[in-house]
């Protein structure tokens, strides 16, 4: 097993995680571009580009693109996040060249035919509607808008129906030309393929990328506050969050471990108190998300209106406790074991390996040695956790709530609980 990376003369980076004991290869293009690179008037363009790249090139129709991959049994997919857009294929090792042929054609030579553009608008409007019907998705969109108001970083990834319906073809072309450039792209592969083969294929297929534009997006500006969205549901969906830390912060893993201890899985404090001891919820968890220049710490819980008056105090008590009292060494050791085992077990999946390497390359401009990562996690101390808890939980909270909210206390009361 080997891990290698190369930067081609045009700036395109290739990273290969070779695993010769499997039959397949997961391979794709990860782009250092997402929703936050949009301007608000064109919110949703990053995601719409992701959809439209599947809709044809001068030599392939949309049916050819998916058909060529699926006819060899491959699976093809894509995602848009706030900072990354990815297109990837998982197929057998003998078909790697086909995968890169199709993927490179999609990103370098899209044509956005009118009829497909109209159809895709309609598909995305349907997708937006489905998000509105999924309360535990919608509440996170509400949260993001409240944490980062008036910024692309706070806008929904899918955009709004009216923007999507009015999006012009030229906006899509401009977005691709400005952002789908060699220095923003990473080709990543994991599985039964050599790095030499990957470099040769990347050189062969990626000669048509536009010049780099060196465009930057606006720095994140976390605000906090609250949003309440009354809806006739059985459950209330609550997200209580705080400003987190950026990916490159040397103390990044203290934030990850803090989130693991507080709300990462069945051994966590929130799961233990809110669900196991008080029986208030089915689902409660916390997570930390790092961006290039900021981060956020979110706690989610879903519960019926009768339990809501009890839920908020229990969650706030747990936050206070972790701020005021050092976490026991054994508890930190368990959280480290959980993260460590998660990283090692994630290595069984080729897709997750390719994704992890690509994202690390985008964030740190180097490939990721797993041992270095494990060492960074091991180095976090209980003092680091205490300092991180004070840092994160002293920021202004963001509260997003969706459901029959009549029993939810005021934002000020929650602030008072947290400050007590």
């Amino acid at each position: 097993m080997t891990l290698q990376s190369t930067k081609l003369s045009n700036g395109l980076r290739v990273v290969t995680d070779t695993v010769d004991t499997v039959e397949s290869v997961a391979v794709g293009i990860w782009c250092d571009v997402g929703t936050r690179h949009e301007d608000l008037a064109h919110n949703g363009v990053a995601h719409m580009v992701e959809h439209m790249l599947f809709n044809g090139t001068p030599t392939r129709t949309s049916k050819d693109i998916v058909g060529q991959i699926e006819s060899v049994g491959g699976q093809m997919n894509a995602y848009t996040s706030r900072e990354i857009t990815a297109y990837y294929v998982h197929l057998l090792k003998e078909d790697v060249a086909l995968a890169l042929d199709v993927l490179s054609d999609m990103v370098q030579r899209p044509i956005f035919p009118d009829v497909d553009l109209e159809k895709e608008r309609s598909v995305i409007v349907q997708e937006i509607g489905m998000t509105h019907d999924t309360p535990d998705d919608l509440v996170f969109d509400l949260y993001q808008e409240t944490a980062y108001p008036q910024q692309a970083l706070g806008a929904p990834i899918l955009g709004t129906a009216s923007i999507v319906e009015g999006m012009e073809k030229q906006t899509l072309f401009d977005y691709v030309r400005r952002f789908y450039t060699p220095q923003k792209l990473v080709i990543s592969a994991a599985g039964n393929v050599s790095h030499d083969q990957m470099v040769a294929l990347a050189e062969k297929f990626f000669s048509d990328l536009p010049q780099d534009s060196a465009e930057k997006y606006k720095t994140a500006s976390y605000q906090g506050g609250e949003i309440r969205n009354e809806k006739n549901l059985e459950q209330n969906h609550i997200v209580l969050g705080f400003q987190g830390i950026e990916k490159k912060d040397p103390k990044y893993y203290a934030a990850v471990l803090l989130s693991t201890i507080l709300g990462g899985g069945m051994s966590s404090r929130l799961f233990q108190e809110v669900r196991e001891r008080h029986g208030l919820v089915y689902s409660v968890y916390s997570s930390h998300t790092g961006y290039h220049d900021d981060g956020q710490f979110e706690i989610y819980a879903g519960t019926g209106p009768d339990n809501l008056p009890q839920l908020i105090p229990v969650v706030c008590d747990e936050i206070q406790k972790i701020v005021q009292q050092h976490v026991p060494e054994e508890e930190l050791a368990r959280a480290k074991a959980q993260i460590r085992a998660g990283i090692l077990m994630g290595r069984e999946s080729m897709l997750s390996r390719a994704n992890r390497q690509a994202k690390y390359m985008i964030n740190f401009d180097q490939d990721l040695n797993i041992q270095t990562l494990l060492d960074q996690i091991e180095a976090v101390s209980v003092d680091d956790i205490a300092a991180m808890a004070q840092r994160i939980f002293s920021t202004r909270p963001t509260l997003a709530a969706l459901g029959p909210l009549q029993n939810l206390e005021s934002y000020e009361d929650i602030q008072t609980r947290l400050a007590a």
Binding site: G73, V123, I124, Q126, E127, H132, M266, H278, G302, R334
Partner: protein, 424 residues
């Protein structure tokens, strides 16, 4: 080529299915009891799932906190779930930690014995899980399809059960009695995949299971597929819709053909339904078809979700496509479906979790030990004639139609119109 899996019979008669692979760093252990929602009486509906929730709440020798702490020390990923057919307990851990992981998991799976107060507290999370499901129209739709397809039978019940059963209907005595009757050697299979010490696992399990009662295999009150129609009005933006049919069971000679038919019809971005309803017309975000086989029966479902302006048209095209599919598919489509199944099986076999579940599933339902390669061969043998027979089996049955969402002004065709269009 995959390594040949093996079966070791424990002294109590329980089969231990193994995919031992020294190239791996981790192992996945699965305990599966063939007991689930379809085996429950209506007054105890939800009890399998309730018992599964209690697995982490204490055994004779471990408290709830012991279980969580001991798993956490080795960083193991563990969980459990209940289906209509079975109850699964499993753990994923690093190879060096397998002895500890096996010790805890086997204790949980064999000796669930939660104190009274833990049982009453756990009613809360299960009620919240039920409420969450009620807010999820896709879930409501799937449960309604089951109810219409298999009315007055265990297979048509929900897994969580009705609110009154969870709130108070199911007592600690009921749970322990259910455990003693059903958590027996006759219902249990164990599978393990990955890198671990085989001798140690054999010895440990022989010792731990030596007092397990043989018991009798769980049975249900299956009477057969019926079909019907139900539309549920809600305040959602989208209508979730499904057209379902009776389909071959696991192990039925047409089961493989039915899966390949569902793949060509609605199993990917180049499938007929995705191309016709989403790619050509943009009527939906998601649409597809699946064959869901059970033991003794099965259903074939096709559907998606669309807003109330599009849903009627999406359904008319869906019906057209089902009618066309009733005539069969082309050789090219069959070849692609086989290739997708082959690559999908090989990809899935890279995951130890999938390997363990596949070993257990195929042994339970077909009594065979298979490699991914031998499993693929069964699908390679399917002919166009088999596909036509499978399509005839499926589409000659009474349809089940369910729609959940803003259905009132959506212009969806009536059940009679659907049935007529399908037969014309």
């Amino acid at each position: 080529m995959s390594l040949q899996p093996t079966m070791y019979e424990l002294s109590c008669g329980v089969p231990l299915l193994e995919a031992h692979d020294p190239n791996r760093h981790t192992a996945f252990i699965l305990f599966m009891y063939g007991i689930g929602a379809r085996h429950e009486e209506p007054k105890e509906n939800g009890i399998s799932h309730f018992l599964e929730h209690l697995a982490f709440k204490g055994t004779d020798v471990r408290t709830a906190l012991d279980i969580k702490t001991q798993f956490a020390v080795i960083g193991a990923k563990y969980n459990a779930f209940t289906t209509h057919e079975g109850t699964a307990y499993f753990v994923d851990a690093l190879g060096e930690d397998i002895p500890e992981a096996l010790d805890i998991l086997s204790d949980i799976a064999l000796n669930i014995s939660p104190p009274e107060h833990e049982i009453d507290t756990e009613r809360g999370p299960i009620i919240q899980e039920l409420k969450g499901n009620l807010d999820d129209s896709d879930r409501v739709m799937k449960e309604t399809v089951r109810k219409l397809a298999f009315p007055n039978q265990g297979l048509g019940q929900t897994i969580i059960g009705p609110l009154e059963n969870i709130k108070s209907g199911i007592s600690r005595e009921d749970l322990l009695l259910f455990r003693d009757e059903n958590y027996t050697a006759s219902n249990l299979q164990i599978a393990i995949a990955g890198n671990y010490d085989q001798d140690h696992v054999h010895q440990t399990l022989n010792k731990k299971l030596r007092n397990l009662k043989k018991g009798i295999k769980a049975e249900d009150n299956f009477t057969g597929y019926v079909g019907g129609d139900q539309r549920i009005q809600s305040s959602d933006e989208h209508v979730h819709f499904t057209l379902a049919f009776n389909a071959p069971a696991i192990g039925h000679p047409l089961s493989e053909a039915t899966l390949l038919l569902s793949s060509a019809l609605g199993g990917g971005m180049d499938s007929r339904l995705f191309q016709e309803i989403r790619e050509k017309r943009g009527l939906v975000y998601s649409v597809g078809a699946r064959h869901i086989p059970f033991s003794g029966t099965g259903i074939f479902i096709a559907g998606g979700a669309a807003d109330s302006d599009n849903v009627a048209q999406a359904n008319l095209i869906l019906i057209e496509e089902l009618k066309k599919a009733a005539e069969g598919i082309t050789q090219t489509e069959l070849d692609i479906a086989k290739r997708k199944n082959k690559v999908g099986t090989l990809r899935a076999s890279e995951s130890l979790e999938n390997q363990a579940f596949a070993l257990e599933y195929i042994m339970r339902n077909r009594g065979e030990l298979v490699t991914p390669e031998s499993d693929i061969k069964r699908y390679e043998a399917v002919t166009l004639e088999d596909i036509r027979k499978a399509a005839n089996f499926v589409f000659s049955s009474t349809p089940t139609f369910v729609a959940v969402g803003p259905v009132e002004d959506s212009g969806l065709p009536s059940y009679d119109v659907i049935c007529n269009k399908l037969t014309l």
